[in-house]
Amino acid sequence: MTPGGFAWLVWHELRLALRGTGRRGWLARTAPLLLLVAVPVVGGIGLGIALGVPEHGGHRGLGSGVPLGLIGAGVVGGFVLMMSTAAIGVLRTFHDRGDLDLLLAAPIPAARVLAAKTIGVAASVAAPFAVVIAPFALTRAVMGQPGWIGVVAMVGVDAALATAVAVVAVGGVVVMLGPRPARVVVQLGAAIVGGAVFLATQAPSIAPALARRAFAAAARPWPTPLDWPARAAVGELLPLAAMIGVAVAATTLAARRGARAFVASGDAGHGGAKAQTTTVRFHAGLTRAIVVKELRLIARDPELITQIALRLVYLIPAAALLVRGRHEGAGSAGPAVAAAITAFATLLASSFAWIVVAAEDAPDLLAAAPRTVAAIARAKLIAATSIPLVLVAVAAVALGPTSPAAAAATLGVGAVAAVTAALLQAWFGKPASRSAFRRRAQASFVIGVGELILAAAWAATANLLAQGSGWAVAPALLAAMIVAGAAEARKTAA
């Protein structure tokens, strides 16, 4: 590759995106990635071969036996999902990385730089989908169903279109609002889209009747040319060529016009937020100082909030199943809600504890303060558990009139669960920056698993206690053993 050339620049972007995983060392960075790629590749090829050679050719690939309307819905769903990752990718690549000034100062055409960045985002958006889909689809194509190539091509088309739209949209928001508010808008938007798509996939569990109606509506044939994405996905040549043409045109236009918004905004990572006039009253007290500081820092970090919110969104289907199961069993939903709230509170407290303890921005400042380590740790524990405890209290109040036992179980077990989860993180969380929140489970696999078992054990305790079952002692004992084991391990380590 020629240094400064288009391919070289694209490779540079992809390399930076890969290194964004934050792991050090080639092996530590590459091994999990290879594993993540190897599983779907081997699985996809194996499944493709296992289905055997089609008897009658089946040239329509994915179209064999699946209504075109549903395929179209899948293509649109994929596009929407990719939009959320593309928007974040665009923000990171064009703004956060802060290398636009460096690249544009180099003696290479600006258009080439912007195009390479756009292609880099599109490639990183397409990669996870391609890894999952391509091995199976290409195997089926080789086995006699060439139409499956259309699916692989449409992954690229979806990614390119999503990136093009994201470049224009995010660029527009940056110009209109400035870089920092744009970041908030993009992150919240991406989180809402990601959460909505996840909930949509879980619709059959959460709202079966609504899901059935939506499925029937999507399965109906779509009018031409709206059905072209579906026809392209099943390998019809003309629609496929048209879709590829549209993707190439959109990407080119976005790189030439949309990406320039980032240059025109004059910002390559040095945002200037407008200051709002606020009143700061000085107060006394260590606990108050630390709690207020931690809550302020969390409230001002939209990326962190969205990541925490997404973790909780993933619990909604399980909670919905629990509640529905109780309703269908003609029992009260109280115990199920108690379990769900307890699990919520446990994971929320653990997340906050990691943020306020492990991700402390200025540990030396606290260490230099004339306070004991224990006093600061106590204040941080209060900060980490304050929001989960409010959540637990609100849920208990809401449950009280209809299910007093569930309310009591939620309040008691939920509070203990939040505190123990926070303790676990406070004891073992390794110092890291807030941006490493998503990867914190990788930093300590044992804590990650321990946190999940703890959440499950306390949730089961709350559920059984709310039902008045003596078996509540069993999961409570398990949770207590985890905490006691962690305390002992901490003493030994000290």
Partner: protein
């Protein structure tokens, strides 16, 4: 009356020995410049004095308080400002000072008045409601300095306080340090800008490989070296090592 800082037989080793049997005294009401080449042990020494690093051996006495026996009482009298400002990007300067006041247990009314005065002196009052993440390096350094001063420490320890400051800001900081000393406070600073030490410091200590190799006023250093009229730079190179080690840190 006890000295501001008395270090006796201080030792700290990591993979190699960083501070080796260091003895040092800083008197009350003086501005003391601790100089040394990169890796000489200056920052390690200051971090031990600030209570951020436990010494392997030796004693640290801060204004009559044994810092190893009663670290909380010692910390109450000290402020430490490292070269990388201890700031929270998402807090405003006022919120940051409110937090520091809470940590040090300062009376809120007093802290509010001091905070306003400091921010005005450091030309940050107009930015009091802007988050620190929007600040330049120099503004962050000034906000961190305000944090170090808001609890009115008797002993102020500054590690490379002028790094990243423009000429105007550097002048403001220097004036502020001189004013504190004039008001009876004690300041210890490290710097690679020898002219600053030469012009501001009452006494200078030169540390090399974790040991104090010279200490005194400029005149005393010259006399000890037998080099009347020599510049601090000449003496530093002679005492601390090669010409390379006298270069400012990057």
């Amino acid at each position: 009356m006890a000295d501001a800082l008395t270090i006796t037989g201080l030792r700290k080793a990591f993979a190699a020995v960083a501070v080796d049997d260091l003895n040092l005294t800083v008197r009350r009401g003086e501005l003391y410049a601790l100089l040394g080449p990169n890796g000489a042990g200056k920052t390690t020494t200051l971090r031990m004095v600030a209570g951020l690093l436990p010494p392997d051996a030796g004693a640290i006495d801060i204004l009559g308080v044994d810092a190893r026996a009663d670290s909380i009482a010692a910390k109450r009298r000290v402020a430490y400002l490292p070269d990388e400002p201890l700031l929270y990007d998402k807090l405003t300067p006022l919120e940051y000072l409110d937090f520091i006041a809470g940590l040090w247990g300062i009376d809120p009314a007093t802290a509010a008045v001091t905070a306003e005065s400091l921010l005005r002196t450091l030309d940050l009052w107009n930015q009091r409601d802007a988050r620190c993440e929007t600040f330049s390096r120099g503004m962050k350094q000034k906000a961190a300095l305000a944090g170090a001063l808001v609890h009115d420490p008797a002993l102020l320890i500054l590690d490379e306080p002028l790094t990243g400051l423009d000429a105007g800001a550097a002048r403001t900081v220097k004036d502020l340090l001189v004013a504190r000393v004039a008001a009876g406070g004690t300041v210890i600073l490290t710097t690679h800008i020898l002219e600053v030490a030469e012009r501001l410091a009452d006494r200078i200590g030169i540390i090399r490989a974790g040991r104090l190799v010279a200490a005194g006023t400029l005149a005393e250093l010259r006399a000890a070296q037998g080099a009347a009229g020599a510049s601090l730079e000449d003496m530093f190179i002679a005492l601390a090592g090669s010409r390379d080690s006298a270069q400012p840190a990057a």
